[in-house]
C-alpha cells in the first residue's frame, strides 16, 4: 500500500473525483462491526479515525526510536529529537508559517487556547475587552472567562442569526479601541457554520486587536495557510486530522510569541536555573515544559504526510455532497428539524427529532451500527440560542460514503418507528 495521491482525477470531464473505496482501505477500524452491524462512523468532529501509516508510526516509534527529546547526548535521544523537531518543520510547511519558532506543540486545541489566554492574556488589564462569538465551544469560552476574572477584562459575545451565521454588523459594533483579543471558531463544531474569518481578522486588526482562530474543525478538511489568513494565533488538534490523540498545534506570530511570558514552568523550557533567578529558553521550547507526547508527534508526522497527498478539491466536493445529501434526506423525514442552516457549511449535520431526546436518537442509531454524537457538543450557550437542549450530530470525513448516509437515514426511520409505536 502506498500513500500516493488520493482521489484520482477523472480526465474526461476535467473534474476530480474522490476514490472513497481506496481511501477506506487505509483505515483498518472501518471494517469493525458495532452491535453486529457494519460500523458507520459519523462522529468525525469529535475525533477522526486513523489511517494505517499513523498507527504504524506510533508502533515504530516505540519499537525503534523511543527516548526523551532534547536531553540525552546518546544516539537514541538524538534520533527521537530529530523526529520531533523534523515534524515541527513539517507542521511549519503544512501551515505555511514563517518559522518553526512559530509552531508550538500542545495536547490539543483546548491547551492551545489556554496557552494564548494565559500567556498573551497576561498583558490584559481591567477594562480591556475580548470578543468571542455565540457559537463557540466551551474551550473557547471558559479560558477567556477565567482570564476576565483574573484581570478585570470584559468578555463580549458577537451574536449569530437563526441559521447559525455570525451577525457581522453586530460583531463590528463590538469592536472598539478597548478590544484586545478576538477569539473565534473557524468552523462551528455543533452546526458546521463556516465563519467569515478573513473579514473578522481584517476588522479586528483595524481596531488594533489580535485574532486567535479555533481551527479544530477546519484544519482536518482544508489546507490552512496562516500567512494568507493573516491571523495572529491558530490552534487545532492533531487527533481530528487523522493523527493520534495527544498532539495539537498552536501557531503564533513570532513577533507576539517573542514578547509572551512562559505559561507552564518546568524542564525543557529554561535557559538556566538557580534558586535566585531563572532565565527562559527561546522559541518554541519556552512554551513546551516537560516531556511532550513524542509518540503522538511521530503519529502527527505520518498524518501530515498522509494529508499532504490528498486532493483537497476532490475531498471537499465529496464531503460536501455527503453533507448535502444527508441534510436533504433528513429534512424530508417528518418531525426531523435541522439545527444550523448556514449558507456556507462544513460537513456537519445537527438535527433534532420531535418528541425524542437526542440521546435516545443516538442510542437507536447505535443499535444500527451508526455512531453519531448526541448532546450539547460542549456548546451550551449555542444550544440555548438555537432553542434546543441537545442535538444529534452526524459529521463526515474523507472515508464516509453515500451508503453510510443511507444507513443514517434508515436508522432515523427506526428511531421514528420505535418512538411512535
Amino acid at each position: 500500500m502506498s500513500t500516493m495521491v488520493r482521489g484520482a482525477r477523472s480526465e474526461e470531464r476535467g473534474a476530480s473525483t474522490w476514490d472513497v473505496e481506496r481511501v477506506r482501505k487505509d483505515f483498518p477500524i472501518l471494517t469493525t462491526k458495532a452491535h453486529e452491524k457494519p460500523l458507520v462512523y459519523l462522529d468525525n468532529a469529535a475525533t477522526s479515525q486513523k489511517p494505517w501509516p499513523v498507527i504504524k508510526a506510533l508502533h515504530d516509534f516505540y519499537e525503534t526510536s523511543n527516548a526523551n527529546v532534547h536531553r540525552g547526548v546518546h544516539w537514541l535521544s538524538e534520533k527521537a529529537t530529530a523526529l520531533y523537531e523534523g515534524t515541527r518543520e513539517k507542521v511549519r510547511a503544512y501551515f505555511n508559517a514563517n518559522s518553526t519558532k512559530e509552531i508550538i506543540y500542545t495536547h490539543g486545541t483546548t491547551e492551545g487556547i489556554n496557552l494564548v489566554a494565559n500567556s498573551y492574556g497576561a498583558s490584559l488589564v481591567a477594562g480591556d475587552e475580548i470578543i468571542i462569538s455565540e457559537l463557540e465551544h466551551h474551550s473557547n469560552i471558559v479560558p477567556w472567562q477565567m482570564l476576565c476574572e483574573r484581570t478585570g477584562a470584559r468578555l463580549r459575545v458577537a451574536p449569530i442569526d437563526d441559521d447559525g451565521q455570525l451577525l457581522f454588523d453586530a460583531f463590528e459594533q463590538l469592536l472598539t479601541d478597548r478590544t484586545r483579543i478576538v477569539a473565534m471558531a473557524h468552523v462551528s463544531n455543533s452546526l458546521g457554520s463556516v465563519l467569515p474569518v478573513r473579514e473578522v481578522i481584517q476588522k479586528a486588526h483595524a481596531a488594533g486587536a489580535v485574532v486567535m482562530l479555533d481551527g479544530a474543525q477546519r484544519a482536518p478538511h482544508h489546507r490552512i495557510d496562516v500567512q494568507a489568513l493573516g491571523c495572529d494565533f491558530y490552534v487545532c488538534s492533531g487527533h481530528k486530522m487523522y493523527g493520534p490523540t495527544g498532539a495539537g498545534i498552536l501557531y503564533g506570530r513570532q513577533e507576539l510569541l517573542d514578547r509572551m511570558p512562559p505559561w507552564m514552568g518546568g524542564g525543557d523550557m529554561i535557559e538556566s536555573v538557580s534558586f535566585e533567578r531563572t532565565t527562559y529558553a527561546g522559541l518554541p521550547a519556552r512554551f513546551e515544559a516537560g516531556t511532550p507526547d513524542i509518540a503522538a508527534v511521530a503519529g502527527l508526522s505520518a498524518a501530515l504526510d498522509y494529508m499532504s497527498c490528498l486532493d483537497f478539491d476532490a475531498l471537499n466536493a465529496h464531503e460536501h455532497s455527503l453533507m448535502v445529501e444527508a441534510s436533504e434526506r433528513l429534512a424530508e423525514i417528518p418531525g426531523v428539524r435541522l439545527i444550523g442552516t448556514a449558507k456556507e457549511k462544513a460537513a456537519v449535520v445537527s438535527f433534532v427529532v420531535e418528541g425524542v431526546h437526542a440521546h435516545d436518537v443516538a442510542s437507536v442509531l447505535d443499535f444500527n451500527g451508526v455512531a453519531v454524537r448526541a448532546g450539547h457538543h460542549c456548546t451550551q450557550p449555542l444550544m440555548r440560542r438555537m432553542g434546543v437542549t441537545a442535538t444529534a450530530r452526524a459529521s463526515f470525513a474523507m472515508y464516509n460514503t453515500h451508503q453510510e448516509v443511507d444507513a443514517l437515514i434508515a436508522g432515523l426511520h427506526d428511531v421514528k418507528r420505535v418512538f411512535s409505536s
Binding site: 425524542v356 431526546h357 440521546h359 435516545d360 451550551q380
Partner: protein, 145 residues
C-alpha cells in the same frame, strides 16, 4: 414499558406542599429533574417529578415514583441500593440483584450494558435519596455514579 413511561410519565407534576424538593442535573447531557416528596412521618406519602430528559431518565423517574410511594425512608433507600446495583453491575455478575425482586424497575436493568446511559437511569434516584435523607437540594451525576 420504558417507551410507555417516557410518553406517559406517571406522577409528572409538582407537589405544591412538598416536604422537600431536590433538583438533579446530568451535566453530560443536560438532563434536569426535580423530585418532590411529601413525607408523613417516616413514610413517603406522595412523590412526583418534573423536568426534561431522555426516555431512560424520564421512564426511570416515572417508575421510581410508583415504586417508592407508601414506602418508608429505609425501604426506599434499600430499593435504591438494589436498583443501583442492578444497573451498574455486569449482566453476568454473581452478586447481581435478583431482577424479580425489583418488579417493574427491572426493565431498566438493560442499561447496565450501556455505561453511558447508566447516569440517565439513576439521576432521579439520586435526587430522591437526597430528598428523603435530608441531603443537598441540588445533585449532579458528576458527583456520583
Amino acid at each position: 414499558m420504558i417507551l410507555d413511561h417516557n410518553r406517559n410519565p406517571r406522577n409528572f407534576r409538582e407537589i405544591p406542599d412538598a416536604t422537600r424538593q431536590v433538583f438533579g442535573r446530568n451535566p453530560l447531557c443536560g438532563d434536569e429533574v426535580t423530585v418532590y416528596v411529601k413525607m408523613k412521618g417516616d413514610v413517603i406519602d406522595d412523590v412526583s417529578f418534573g423536568g426534561r430528559g431522555c426516555a431512560i431518565s424520564k421512564a426511570s423517574a416515572s417508575l421510581m415514583t410508583n415504586a417508592v410511594k407508601g414506602k418508608t425512608r429505609q425501604e426506599a433507600h434499600e430499593l435504591f441500593d438494589r436498583f443501583h446495583a442492578l444497573v451498574t453491575s455486569s449482566p453476568t455478575a454473581a452478586d447481581r440483584p435478583d431482577a424479580k425482586a425489583l418488579g417493574r424497575l427491572a426493565v431498566l436493568g438493560g442499561v447496565a450494558r450501556f455505561p453511558a446511559r447508566v447516569k440517565c437511569a439513576t439521576l432521579a434516584w439520586h435526587a430522591l435519596e437526597n430528598a428523603i435523607q435530608g441531603g443537598a437540594t441540588e445533585v449532579s451525576t458528576d458527583d456520583q455514579l
